[in-house]
Symmetry: C2
C-alpha cells in the first residue's frame, strides 16, 4: 500500500479486510484520509479547518516553547471542510447519524446553514456528506437541494428515501474511504 | 457608517479620518474587515482559518463549559485565508514588512509555499498580499509569479520594483481597508 509522506505508519497487524477496517473509523478520519490521497495525487486540495480556540493565557516554560494554559472553544462561523478542485471552490460539512431512516436537521447548526447558503450564492460547490453509520452507507447531497428543502420547511429531518433520491452514494475503498470527488467530477468535470 | 450584524460597535470617538485610522491597524485586521464587507454584500466569502491548536487537557468547571488547560500551537499546513469568489476558489497568505525596499522570502514558510503551489496546480486563484507598513502601500501578487521567481532561485527576496512590476496595488477605503477583490475581478471576472 501507498505510504503518504505525511501519513502515519501502518503495521501489518493493523491492515484488515476492506470491510472490517472501516469499523470504528469515524467519518472525519475517512474524509481526512481521502483528502490526503487527493492532495498526494493532485486530484484536489481540501483541508479540515482547525477548531477555533480563544486563547486567554500562555506560559513560556522554555525559550521558543509556548504552552497554552487557559483557552476556550469558540463557535465556528463556517463549515468544517473547504478547498479547491480544478479551480472550483469546494465547501462542505460532514455528519454521522446512527438513525436508520432519517437525518435530523437539528444536527446542522444555524451557522453551518448560513455559511452553506453564502457560499452557494457565490457559486461554490457546496454539499453535505451524511453517513448512516448503522447502515454503513454515505451520501453526498448538494447544499442547494438541502437549502431548498429547509426553505420549504416541510419537516425537521431529511428522510433516507429523500436522500437516496436527491443525493449520491459515496463509494469507499481502502485507499479512499470516503471517495466524494468522482461525484463532483461527474457533475462539474470539464471532460 | 454600516454596522455589520456581527461587527463590533464603533463609538464616535473611534472614527478618525481615512488616513490616520489606518495607523496601528494590522494587515490582518484590515483583511478581516474587508472580508466582513465582502460577505455582507455577497461579493465574496473569505474567512481567516483558525490557528491550529493541539488540545491536551480540558477541565469542566461547570456543566456545558469546557476550559482548555493544556494545549500547544501546531504548525499550520495551509495559508491563512481561503474562500470563494464567483465560483473560483481563492487562497492567499498575507504578510507585512517594515522593510522599505524588499520583501524577504524567509517570511514565507515552506508549508505556505507548498500549499500555494498545490492550490495553483488545482487552478485556485492563489496570491500573496504584501504590505510595506512604513511606505503605507499594499500589493497583491499572484502565486504563480512568486513561485516562478522562487523556482528561478535568483534571490532570497522580492525587490519592491519587482513587486511593482508583477503585482497590483491594493486600494484602501474606510469600509474596505484592503480591497483586493477588484483586482481579482479585473482578471477573472466574467463580464
Amino acid at each position: 500500500m501507498i505510504q503518504y509522506p505525511s501519513g502515519k505508519k501502518t503495521t501489518k497487524q493493523q491492515i484488515k479486510s476492506p470491510i472490517t477496517s472501516r469499523r470504528g473509523m469515524s467519518l472525519e478520519e475517512d474524509i481526512n484520509k481521502s483528502n490526503e490521497h487527493y492532495r498526494y495525487f493532485n486530484i484536489a486540495v481540501v483541508h479540515k479547518k482547525p477548531t477555533p480556540v480563544q486563547v486567554v493565557s500562555v506560559d513560556y516554560p522554555a525559550r521558543n516553547k509556548a504552552k497554552i494554559v487557559e483557552a476556550y472553544y469558540r463557535q465556528p462561523s463556517t463549515t468544517d471542510y473547504n478547498g479547491v478542485y480544478d479551480g472550483f471552490a469546494l465547501d462542505f460539512e460532514a455528519k454521522e447519524t446512527r438513525n436508520k431512516t432519517l437525518f435530523p436537521l437539528s444536527a446542522l447548526h444555524q451557522h453551518q446553514i448560513d455559511h452553506l447558503r453564502a457560499v452557494t450564492n457565490q457559486k461554490a460547490i457546496a454539499f453535505l456528506i451524511i453517513r448512516f453509520t448503522d447502515l454503513g452507507v454515505t451520501y453526498l447531497i448538494y447544499a442547494k437541494d438541502v437549502l431548498a428543502y429547509i426553505d420549504r420547511n416541510e419537516s425537521r429531518s431529511l428522510r433516507l428515501d429523500w436522500i437516496k433520491k436527491h443525493g449520491y452514494q459515496v463509494e469507499s475503498t481502502y485507499q479512499i474511504p470516503c471517495d466524494y470527488i468522482p461525484i463532483i467530477k461527474e457533475h462539474y468535470g470539464k471532460e
